[in-house]
């Protein structure tokens, strides 16, 4: 038990160190690399918390896909971040207040792992007991996501898909209109 | 027999730990990118090889062994690719390594 505690403390301190380094970073590619390292450590953290599926997602999406997406976006950005000169008192106050409210709310939560808390009483036992016979997949989280809450997941997928199509449409439109503007400019210059 | 496998695992883990710690020290200590690639290669090959061997000793013959072998083989094949790509790019970006040069460079 004590060793679990040490592992967790170590991981959290590493994540804190990376976060502080992220704050200090001023080049974009360095930031992306640090984010990737952060995801790597976060997945390890989820594994120590026994959340296999979250760790799986974090490993593939957080460390893999989002790094590549960040890089693809980075190709359109200037190489260095400019120094921020706006007043930061208000955002800091907002963050501190929100954090305080969340911590205050967390006192009302039931104890972690308590068997009599409401979330463990209602429908979860049914899922846990029935998952093996109903669906036949050893992983309960997968069976809940893909089968018990299938409609939910289906709706989510549709929403994400629509968003993707919309982004693509906007980007494509933007490109052609840019070309149009360029060609009009050329025509105008030639006309002069 | 159980004691024997445990001892063997301990030996492999010791060697693996030694090689990843020395590799990480080398990553800090060595002077330039090209030398550091060797230290990273040490973590990739020595570390994983010894640790995977040790864990195979613990797992016996089962599905776990296959998975461990998959990890080992995969890192075995990708490690030289990443090392080479890094070194190649560093060379193409015009970085010249420290130390003496023998013969005509490409």
């Amino acid at each position: 038990m004590i060793s679990e505690l040490i592992i967790n403390a170590f991981l959290v301190s590493i994540m804190l160190a990376i976060a502080i380094a992220l704050l200090k970073a001023r080049t974009v590619i360095y930031t992306v690399l640090l984010t990737s390292a952060y995801s790597l450590v976060a997945a390890l953290m989820f594994i120590t918390l026994d959340a296999v599926d979250v760790a799986f997602t974090e490993a593939s999406v957080g460390a893999g896909i989002s790094t590549i997406l960040f890089l693809a976006a980075m190709a359109f950005l200037p190489k260095k971040e400019e120094k921020n000169v706006t007043n930061q008192a208000f955002p800091a106050l907002l963050c501190l207040t929100l954090g305080g409210v969340l911590i205050w709310c967390s006192f009302d939560l039931p104890e972690i792992g308590l068997a009599t808390s409401p979330i463990h009483q209602h429908i979860v036992p049914e899922y846990i007991l029935g998952s093996r016979d109903d669906i036949g997949i050893p992983n309960i989280v997968t069976s809940v996501l893909a089968s018990y809450r299938g409609y939910d997941t289906f709706g989510e997928t549709i929403v994400v898909f629509t968003a993707g199509i919309a982004v693509l449409a906007i980007l494509k439109n933007n490109k052609t209109s840019l070309k149009k503007i360029k060609s009009q400019k050329k025509v105008a210059e030639n006309g002069q | 027999m159980d004691l024997f496998t445990d001892l063997l695992t301990g030996l492999f883990f010791f060697l693996g730990s030694l090689s990843i710690i020395i590799g990480a020290c080398g990553l800090i200590k060595l002077p330039d990118v090209f030398s550091r690639i060797h230290a990273a290669g040490m973590i990739d090959t020595g570390g994983t090889a010894f640790f995977v061997l040790g864990m195979i000793m613990q797992s016996g013959w089962s599905l776990i062994t296959v998975k461990l072998l998959l990890i080992g083989i995969f890192i075995f094949f990708t490690s030289p690719v990443t090392s080479h790509v890094t070194a190649n790019l560093a060379r193409e970006k015009g970085m010249v390594p420290e130390g003496k040069k023998i013969g005509k460079l490409l």
Partner: protein
Amino acid sequence: MSGHYTNLIIGLGIVSCAFCTYLANRAKLIDEEGLPLFFFPRLLNYLFWLFKEIIISNFNTAKVIISGNVEPEIFTVKASQHTDVARVTYANSITLTPGTVTTKIKNNILEVHALNSDFGDDVRSNEMDKKVKLLEGER
């Protein structure tokens, strides 16, 4: 990988494998060197030798890092293999043994960076070159 082998799961696996192969085929990703079958019989022998070599050079690299007498050097060697696959195998083997890294390849000349003159001499002695050439066989 979960230890469950029902018909449905195996069937889905086969279908997705076939679909991936179809997609790769459509994108023309498969070339004639996809699966170098002529390697396999001699490959095992070579792999054992390479593994031994990797462990030895691991210890040597550790010694160099601890003692700190780093004199990096960079040089070119010639690869005597005929096929591209064999050449890539040779370059990868050089990179895989810690202490030496292939930095550039142009036709059949490799540029190698070594941590120490000992490692450099190892590569320049052409032992690995001969082994890979044996692996390639007579063609």
